[in-house]
């Protein structure tokens, strides 16, 4: 099967077997129909088992599939009358970001998103969907325009992250991302964001401050790519699968954390198997969320967005002050130490005494 992922191998092996039997049957005139039917049944069963609950690492591979639909695919499939716009008016037209005007069920909206390339040449032109500052500023310009003309904004998130390079740093990568976060928070129009593939780090979030954030079923979203996390934590980027499991990157996890509001269903095997199916489901979700948001005033929309992000975060409230806590731990460790010292025949205490207190300036 074209574009098969490693974990899908058993399935394609089985399909291969069926095909061999079929050609054999056709060539020899032998009857394998019973055998074939049995294998096909097994194939179906395996397919169901396999795709019913993909592991986070498997979802990561589906999300990164080279045939996975991109922002432009979804714009074409979900909207009508798309007019593409270009440039940030400051420096360049970053092709890692695409956007413009379109209609959703006849309603004019601004669409903008990260754009991965379809092949190597396209990928080089689009920096593999990793924007430079001019890309984020291009997106901001489109969104400011939407805000001016009271048009809803729909963003598509699909990037491994902002472009890591000297040119990007020179032109203020941090500032460009930060400004998008602040400006998106302040817009008085509905903003719906959809993570369609990989949502990696600040480069993803720079298009992600919406009233509603949706994710496709197999999309992933995280503070750092699983590969990056693996290389930092375990000094081994090949442990990305392991990191993917630990980092809670799936749509289901993020729904539980209330980081996203809704999940868009994908066909079995992933969005690349059936773009029309995925687009239809996405369109329905976008429309229903947009209907709700269009009923709100600009002030309500801003407040809605603020309160959504304001409440994200998990922490505890300590009962003691830090000083009290220190005291208890000190007492604790003193008690531990004295008992240890007693056990070790007083060795620990002599060691300590060798370094006079006054020496620790």
């Amino acid at each position: 099967m074209a574009g098969e992922l490693p974990f899908e191998k058993p399935l394609s092996d089985l399909r291969e077997k069926i095909k061999t039997l079929e050609t054999l049957a056709a060539g020899n005139g032998m009857d394998f129909s019973e055998e074939i039917a049995r294998l096909e049944e097994r194939c179906k069963q395996l397919e169901q088992e396999m795709y019913q609950e993909l592991t986070p690492a498997q979802k990561m591979h589906v999300a990164r599939h080279h045939q996975r639909p991109t922002t432009l695919d979804f714009i074409q499939a979900v909207f009508t009358d798309f007019i593409e716009l270009h440039g940030d008016r400051l420096f360049a037209d970053d092709l890692a970001i695409v956007g413009g005007l379109a209609k959703l069920n006849g309603v004019p909206v601004t669409v903008v998103g990260h754009q991965r390339g379809k092949d190597t040449r396209d990928n080089i032109a689009r920096f593999f969907g990793s924007p430079h500052p001019e890309g984020f500023r291009k997106a901001l310009r489109f969104m400011q325009q939407a805000n001016k003309f009271n048009r809803p904004i729909i963003t598509f998130i699909d990037t491994k992250g902002a472009y890591p390079g000297n040119t990007a740093e020179e032109r203020g990568q941090s500032e460009a991302i930060a400004r998008n976060l602040r400006e998106m928070a302040g817009f008085g129009v509905p903003i719906i964001c959809v993570v369609i593939g990989e949502g990696g780090s600040g480069g993803a979030l720079a298009l992600g401050v919406g009233n509603r954030v949706l994710m496709l079923e197999n999309a992933i979203y995280s503070a750092i790519s699983p590969n990056g996390a693996a290389s930092i934590l375990w000094k081994d980027a090949s442990k990305a699968d392991q990191a993917a499991e630990a980092m809670k990157i799936t749509a289901k996890d993020l729904l539980a954390f209330e980081v996203i509001e809704d999940i868009v269903e994908e066909p079995q095997g992933g969005a690349h198997r059936d773009l029309a199916y995925t687009a239809e489901h996405l369109k329905a979700k976008l429309w229903s969320h947009l209907q709700e948001l269009r009923a709100m005033t600009p002030e309500e929309l801003k407040e809605d967005r603020y309160s959504k992000f304001r409440k994200i975060g998990k922490f505890q409230i300590a009962q003691q002050t830090r000083a009290e806590e220190q005291q208890t731990t000190q007492l604790q460790s003193a008690a531990d130490e004295s008992s240890e010292a007693a056990a070790a025949g007083g060795e620990a205490s002599t060691e300590k005494a060798a370094l006079p207190e006054s020496a620790q300036v």
Partner: protein, 290 residues
């Protein structure tokens, strides 16, 4: 004896000394990280932890910075009770947090927030500490910064944030990432209300902190030599396989590329902050006609 033996180095056995370096008490002297000059710790403290020889600005903990920046070093601290938890059940996070707490007796997280005065003018401040978990931003850091912004907004006080951070705290993954949006959204409110925010980058400020609140100051300042940027040097070198300039991502590099208003020596920082604050309070109460 052969002639080449003349050139071989003689090998000596090293006998460990009976009294290993007990003579110089630990912490009395300090070696500069950059130029290697050895100086008295007390002298270094007096010089605000700036190397007298090369001007290297040593990294400061939050409390050291508070002591040298706020009047009388006085801070009425906010939100002291917020502590991190392990929301993802991330392998090793809980024990790493405990380590960080044990190593930093005065800190509960990578940021200290509160209010005080600078040059007699009241301010809300947030001061980050790199020694706690590399200053990484998790839920608590995001929440404390957001609450500080909200306090500045409610009390109509100027806000000053001293940043230092390695970036997002990946052990909190998506929740950590969302703190970027949360803090920036709060700053959006402050911005709209006409509130003053001065951001001071200190060494190093990278990743998610640099790409959110730290870059959103009305005035962006940095200490000399501070590393400020989004992606780290190693990541960039690995991705584009290009040699980067030596001064890459330093405060001076950022100033040159228009990302900062000024680079301010630590000795002048308090004075500069006072001057900026004064620009926003002086003349208040005067009617238009004067």
């Amino acid at each position: 004896m052969q002639i080449k033996d003349l050139f071989t180095k003689k090998k000596y056995a090293t006998v460990p000394s009976e009294r290993p370096k007990r003579d110089i008490p630990e912490g009395l002297m300090n070696k500069c990280t950059r130029c290697g000059t050895i100086q008295y710790s007390k002298e270094l403290e007096k010089n605000l932890k700036v190397c007298s020889s090369c001007g290297y600005h040593f990294r400061l903990s939050a409390w050291e910075r508070i002591a040298m920046t706020l009047d009388e070093g006085q801070l009425t601290e906010y939100d002291t009770e917020l502590v991190s938890e392990d929301p993802l059940g991330f392998p090793g996070y809980a024990s790493k947090l405990e380590q960080q707490l044990a190593k930093n007796p005065n800190l509960r997280e990578a940021v200290v927030t509160g209010e005080g005065t600078i040059g007699g003018l009241p301010v809300v401040v947030a001061v980050m500490s790199f020694d706690f978990f590399s200053g990484s931003m998790g839920s608590v850091v995001g929440e404390k910064i957001t609450r500080a912004v909200e306090a500045a907004l409610d009390k109509r006080l100027p806000l000053i944030i001293f940043s230092t951070s390695g970036g997002a705290r990946m052990q909190e993954s998506i929740l950590s990432l969302m703190q970027m949006a949360k803090t920036s959204a709060a700053l959006s409110k402050l911005h709209e209300a006409g509130g003053l925010f001065i951001s001071v980058f200190t060494d190093p400020t990278m990743g998610g902190v640099s790409a959110s609140f730290a870059s959103l100051g009305d005035y962006n300042l940095a200490e000399p030599g501070a590393l400020v940027g989004f992606a780290g040097r190693i990541v960039i070198e690995q991705t584009i396989r290009q040699k980067l300039p030596d001064n890459f991502q330093t405060a001076e590099f950022n100033l040159q590329h228009g990302q900062l208003d000024m680079v301010v020596h630590r000795n002048d920082m308090k004075h500069m902050l006072t001057k900026l604050l004064d620009m926003h309070t002086a003349g208040e109460g005067l009617s238009n006609g004067g």
